[in-house]
């Protein structure tokens, strides 16, 4: 949950992206619509023009070797379908002499349709030839018809405008849809927010809000985070319970001894009491130390990054550190390490601490020798501490203060196993009582 300084709005970004898309698309569509509109309108009115020219050419006949024209009204009615356009026409004989109409610029021979400025406006001209070969008249009669371009321009504009209107409506609908989609897509976030806000402060159970797959990952990691939080909280609770349980007795004993000392007058017995007080307070300080270490281990295992490591290394370090603490008992430790590395994913310091606790338990409650074994069995990486003793007997309780914090030690181990997605197994074997810390083995991977 890191908060970036200025939070960008998702909806605005979506809106901007959409607007950019619509603008670019709109420009392209407008261009296409305009080109298409011009072409379609041009073709439509060109056909009218050609039709009129053909009708005029059809009306040419030869009378006494002279071309005469009886223009049909339909040709003019056809041209008048472009209601506001001026029309020009010329019908000329083989030598270019005007038969009827008005003189027009000579048509380009290779282009039957062309647009030329004429009489102050762009005029579309079409030229049609009709060839006669009869006695007294041989050659082509040329019909040129021109029309100004208002109607075709208006049609092109109309086509373009309609296309743009349709596109504008589609764009608005798309924008509306995008807003709705964005709202509904972000809806589950609102539900998560509401569900979280409605919770009691201590409630760290997983969220069960129904969310789409895309947000499922967010909820999953939120739930994972809360599970970790839950573990830390319960470990803390356990620690507090253990600590109060384990601290109460030695402190009560200390107080009792101190009261005894206050009333004692015999110097010899007073000395003995002071010695006991010293031993008790030393145990108490060890206990406090262990509790702190416990807290540290739990924190590291939970919050620290789990990295690949070799359990053999853990076993060796643990044995070595126990040897340092209890030099007089180092000889009772045996290491039984696999030949190949035993890879697992974990946090070295907390694993070493857990291992140390198991060794110390073995030394405290079991019988020598204490064997530390690191091995891989299938997809499990094991760290097993075996002592030659018979295991905990019914009715046997940890003797608080007298040992190195036996009950607390196992609590630490359990917490570490939890944090590593592992567990603890206790059983009797031929060699004695074995406690295993079992972690998922890491697939073959070069360990650092």
């Amino acid at each position: 949950m890191t908060a970036a300084a200025p939070a960008p709005s998702l909806t605005r970004r979506l809106g901007l992206a959409l607007a950019a898309m619509l603008l670019a698309g709109g420009a392209i569509v407008a261009g296409l619509a305009f080109a298409y509109g011009r072409q379609a309108a041009g073709r439509t009115y060109d056909q009218l023009l050609i039709g009129a020219a053909n009708q005029m050419a059809e009306s040419v006949s030869l009378v006494d070797g002279r071309a005469v024209v009886d223009l049909p009204i339909s040709a003019f009615q056809l041209l008048a379908l472009a209601p506001d356009d001026r029309i020009f026409y010329a019908i000329t004989g083989p030598e270019g002499q005007l038969i009827t109409g008005e003189p027009l610029p000579p048509p380009s021979p290779d282009r039957p349709l062309e647009t030329q400025p004429h009489s102050g406006e762009p005029v579309r001209f079409v030229t049609v030839n009709r060839v006669f070969s009869e006695r007294g008249f041989s050659g082509a009669v040329t019909v040129t018809v021109g029309q100004t371009s208002r109607a075709r321009d208006a049609l092109a504009t109309e086509i373009t405008r309609n296309a743009l209107i349709v596109m504008g409506i589609a764009g608005l609908l798309m924008a509306l849809l995008a807003v709705i989609v964005a709202r509904s897509a972000l809806g589950p976030l609102g539900r998560i927010e509401a569900a979280l806000a409605a919770r009691a402060p201590q409630d760290v159970s997983p969220l069960t809000v129904p969310v789409p797959r895309e947000i499922g990952r967010l909820v999953a990691s939120l739930n994972g985070f809360m599970a970790r939080l839950d573990r830390v909280l319960s470990a803390n609770r356990r620690l507090t319970a253990d600590a109060s349980h384990q601290l109460r007795t030695p402190i009560a004993a200390l107080r009792a001894q101190a009261e005894l000392a206050a009333d004692e007058t015999d110097p010899e017995r007073l000395r003995a009491i002071v010695g006991r007080i010293h031993a008790r307070s030393r145990d108490l300080s060890r206990l406090a130390e262990q509790m702190l270490s416990h807290a540290m281990v739990i924190h590291r295992a939970d919050a620290g990054a789990l990295g690949p490591l070799d359990l053999r290394q853990v076993a060796m370090t643990a044995a070595e550190e126990v040897g340092h603490v209890l030099p007089d008992r180092a000889a009772e430790l045996r290491l039984d390490l696999a030949e190949d590395p035993v890879p697992a994913r974990g946090e070295a310091l907390s694993l070493v601490e857990a291992c140390k606790n198991l060794i110390l338990n073995g030394l405290a409650h079991g019988a020598s020798p204490v064997t530390i074994r690191a091995a891989q069995e299938g997809d499990m990486a094991l760290l097993t501490i075996t002592d030659a003793g018979p295991g905990p007997q019914p009715g046997q309780k940890a003797k608080p203060g007298a040992t190195h914090g036996a009950g607390l030690g196992l609590t630490i181990v359990e917490a570490v196993a939890d944090a590593h997605q592992g567990h603890i197994e206790k059983r009797m074997t031929a060699k004695g009582y074995a406690v295993s810390l079992i972690l998922p083995a890491l697939p073959e991977e070069p360990s650092p």
Binding site: D70, A80, R86, L98, G120
Partner: protein
């Protein structure tokens, strides 16, 4: 263009070219004087101009009365020479007006009033139909029995073909070579109906008289020189009929041509804003009311100026302002039409 214009002018100018208007009248005393060239009688059009200057005191109007063909000759020559500088040109020869617009001689004007015009009364925002004037049959009530009065072209045909030759040489119509509006009506007839061929043939056989112009024809019928006149502009006949009870007017039942006298603003108009104001006045409620009072807008049907006898309003065929009118001006088409006409009316 020049050559075509010259040819056209030569064709149109069978009558001698009048470089001067037939009459001139001034209205109002505003500082800006608009020059209106009209193929329109001062008697009927003048009061409308008077109404305009009263409604718009900033303007005075000089109205020139022209014969349609003379007006066209002057206008097209002015347009060619680039000094087409009248402020408004009004003519009943709407085909010639269309030709001027097609040649690019006019400038556009658009207003709420022009936008409200039906499509057949406006072209390119440059040519505007102002009036509604039917082509009617006029007869002398005193000399033609009610039962014989032709109510359609077919009855007119029957009358001319009837034995007895009562109407020989007593039927008149426009000389289409000299009257622009006469040519327009005749040509529209030829496009509208197949009866036209037999009609001029019968007219020719009947010694019908082709003459110029509206006033002369109507006066002739009133005097009894002619009994029946065909294709007379109703807007001229109506005021005469008001004065002379002998004159009767019939809108032909088969179809009645309806002319909308057209106005254009010349490209070189000296006071274009004045032209626009005058045009908008003529199209406005006030202008149209004044035009109706002068019988230039003829209301047809019940309570109208001319009764419709049983025929529906659909029989009224407006001559629409459109480039189709240019067909009648086609050189060869016109030549052939006139040849047929002359052949029919040739003195024998």
């Amino acid at each position: 263009m020049t050559r075509a214009l010259a040819l056209l002018l030569a064709l149109l100018a069978a009558a001698p070219l009048h470089a001067e208007p037939e009459a001139v009248a001034d209205y109002g005393s505003g500082p800006t004087r608009l020059r209106v060239q009209g193929a329109a009688d001062i008697a009927s059009f003048g009061p409308v101009m008077q109404a305009f200057t009263e409604a718009n005191p900033a303007y005075a109007v000089r109205l020139e009365q022209w014969n349609t063909n003379a007006l066209h000759a002057v206008a097209s020559a002015d347009c060619r020479d680039g000094d087409f500088d009248a402020d408004l040109v009004v003519s009943s020869a709407v085909d010639l007006q269309t030709w001027l617009v097609n040649q690019g001689c006019a400038q556009p004007h658009a207003s709420a009033l022009t936008a409200a015009l039906p499509p057949g009364r406006i072209w390119r925002n440059e040519l505007f139909g102002l009036t509604a004037e039917p082509a009617v049959i006029v007869y002398n009530r005193r000399l033609v029995p009610e039962a014989e009065a032709p109510t359609s072209r077919f009855q007119l045909l029957d009358l001319m073909r009837a034995p007895g030759k009562r109407y020989l040489g007593r039927i008149a119509t426009y000389d289409i070579e000299r009257s622009g509006v006469g040519y327009l009506f005749a040509f529209s007839d030829s496009v509208q109906a197949s009866t036209f061929g037999s009609l001029i043939e019968a007219m020719g056989a009947n010694g019908a008289v082709a003459t110029c112009c509206s006033a002369e024809i109507i006066a002739g019928v009133a005097e009894g020189r002619w009994l029946i006149a065909y294709n007379v502009l109703g807007s001229y006949a109506l005021p005469q009929a008001d004065k002379n009870p002998d004159l009767a007017i019939i809108a032909p039942e088969d179809y009645t041509l309806m002319l909308s006298r057209a106005a254009l603003i010349p490209r070189g108009a000296a006071h274009p804003e004045g032209s626009a104001a005058l045009l908008d006045f003529l199209l406005s409620e006030a202008g149209q009311t004044e035009l109706a009072r002068q019988r230039l807008i003829v209301r047809m049907g019940e309570n109208g100026d001319i009764q419709l006898r049983g025929q529906s309003a659909a029989s009224i065929r407006p001559i629409e302002l459109s480039p189709v009118l240019l067909l009648g001006l086609d050189r060869q088409r016109r030549e052939r039409f006139l040849t047929a006409w002359r052949a029919a009316f040739a003195p024998r």
